[in-house]
Amino acid sequence: MRWELTRFSPGGLNAPRRARILAFGLALAGALLEIAAAAVGVLAPAGAVFSLPFGVELFSWTVRLNPLSCYFNLALGILAAAVSIYSFGYLRDMEGRRNLGVLGFFYNVLLLSLTLVFTAANVFFFLVAWEVMALSAYFLVSFEHEKEATRRAGTVFLIMSHAGTGLLLVGFLILAQAAGTLDFAAFHHLASKLPPSQQGLVFILFFLGFGVKAGVIPLHVWLPAAHPVAPSNISSLMSGIVIKTGIYGMALVFFDFFDAPPVWAGMVVLCAGVVSALLGVLYALMEHDLKRLLAYHSIENIGIILIGFGAALVFRGMGHPELAALALIAALYHTLNHAIFKGLLFLGAGSVLHSTRTRNMEEMGGLIRRMPVTALCFLVGAVAISGLPPLNGFVSEWLTYQALLAGFGSTAELTRVAFPIAGALLALTAALAAACFVKAFGISFLALPRSEHAAQAQEAPVSMRIGMGILAAGCLALGLGATWFLPVFDTITAQTIGVKMGASLTAANGLVLTSGTFRGGAVSTVGMAAMLVLLSAIPGMFWLAWGRRSRRASGPTWDCGLPGLTADNEYTATGFSKPIRMIFSALYRPRREIQADYEVSLYYPTAIRFESEIEPAFEKHFYDPLQAWLFRFAGRMRSVQAGSIHAYLAYIFVALIALLLFGVRG
């Protein structure tokens, strides 16, 4: 419990510098303690339960430490440590302009509430922590509340989050009713003892409720709005860990509260995962706002995690605990990986924003030279998120593929066709993600600067580089060291599914990762990295043989004979994704508008304005009409209160007569 106490922070200090250092220093200290505690908790589960010494005595403010909660706390701790270090530098130039005490206060509240969400031991305390988390996230998102878009994003976020909490509440009530208590301990495998119809209801309620927070399509609309508008260190936490609370909740419900959920439930999760992954990346491709692009990728990665969850659920329902454990490991590992690389990418985007004052990729370019460290870190993150070897994203995607593959062979029903299809669509997703990050990195960091700001960009301060560096190193370590890390999951799978997989997942002295014993498959990121190093001897030889003597000159890029290549000639982000926009136009329904001013002839325009946008399908066809309908309905309801006292009296009169007759009869 020791890390809890360090989280109380100094909000509202007057001296901005002291507030910044104190708040984020404490957060850092808390995060480090948390890493230590979580590591101990994961490796040596003691099943500790603590009651906090405050709160109204009607409720128990109790936390527990089990492997699952420790694992999520570990992810939180790592990310929080890096982000806290990063924040020292990131916030420095906000000093004096903004109340950093408030930011620091809510930042610490957010970290504390996240910790509590992951460790709360009963329904009541979980909901309190859950909502406090949403609330502090709301304030952090709304930190720059002068902008209309920011306020709107925060509001939409909190409202959707609250609606999701409502669903959770109902789900918890059903369980609490069956258990007769609010303690999570009593919920263990309880949901599977409910009658089937209630099982289904509980499952759907929790899936939707946690799905809102996780950003599952179609409940995602708040996410791409809210994540970009927050300060980047906050965005990093939001995308890295806050949406993972939804994943934590699902893990808790699906694998702890349920024993063997109905198979269709797993299929639902699998399908939702595929849809979220694919649509997430497709929407990401269309963005040229760097942070929005990253936010859509969070949706994609949540989808990938859900594919693992869905597979695990199906396996569990069909009685394959080992397979379920494999799929669960894949999903949870991807959760941690995504926390690290998405955190890294948002920090990278934050550095760019910090330096160029824009989130629009079309105004960046050439930053790799002005900001080499940021660029390198961002590149590491981009490679990792694209699932390319030998970094961590590859490992978890590989595990997911293996789980899907094993699923086909191990189940008998027609539904098994869903697994390879899911795998194929996951491959599509991954390939599109790679395309998207080629665009994100290529347009933002490579070639010539596209604006004055980009040309004048400065490398981020040391603390920011350290923060990013930690996470980049994390990507590398979790990629290369996967086989050493995976035994961690033994305690978690033992807690949830009741099997231990760690030993069968590694081979060759822990150098090679396998998919377990049933369906073969092996991969070694370390081996690959080593081989890449060894193989570089070949080009080295060429270089020794011929290259030394060859002349290396630098010259202008081929410009088709026009005088001088400028940034205007470069491919734009919009242009880059044009083929995809055309191919998936049925989804995007793009709208474009070209306006050309010309003097002499149409063929010699003096200025062209090009505007293109895609149709946000869910907003346009579901949320906007819903909202419009609601407000129209509410507006119509206003005529109830139209000011006529006669009408008011008539309401009472009607109620009186109705009740009199009711009272007599019934």
Partner: protein, 226 residues
Amino acid sequence: MDFLHNPEFGDKLVTLMAAFVLVFQIAMVGQRSLIMNIRLFGAQSFLLAAIAAVIAHYNHAPHIYVAAVMTVLVKVILVPVLLERLVDRIEIRHEIEPIVNVPLSIVISGGLTLVAYIVGESFYHPETGAASLGHNTLAVAISVFLIGFFMMINRRKALTQVFALLTLENGIFLAAICLTYGMPLVVDLGVFFDVLVAVLVLGILVYRIRETFESMDVSKLRRLRG
């Protein structure tokens, strides 16, 4: 003069008078003149006082006499006089302009009486032999109450609403004396005091509405919406 001591006769007398109370009430619904309305109210209140006195006599409940006297003082004399003075003072038109026209109002009143009898019916427990005055007067009381309520909805002017409220209160009073031979004295006094203050307060409001809006028509008070 045996009937003077025969409770059964008293019951019949009270029932008869209660019927007249209802008749007066319906007459008020039909009556267009404001002054006549106020006088009808006075007459109705007087009938109530008489009922109270009859019950006091036959049931040997002297404290009901107090209620009867209070009724005469407050509702038969003080309130009508005050209201009439107010009418004179603020020089409103003496015509009542109901929202629902008179014939339909009467029909609705009839319907409300029916509702009241349905409700009162459930209190008819001949087997227990309890509640000497029974459901009949209760039904009348509820009718008076409901019709009074309906008049409040049906009247445009502030002042007319006030005395519709008063007739509504008459219904309750009828129920109180018939069913329970009056409330405890303290309560009765409190209620009368409240009625008086309510009339005062409402009177002030009526006056100020008249001053501010140059009209008594409360259906024009429609600024506060939504």
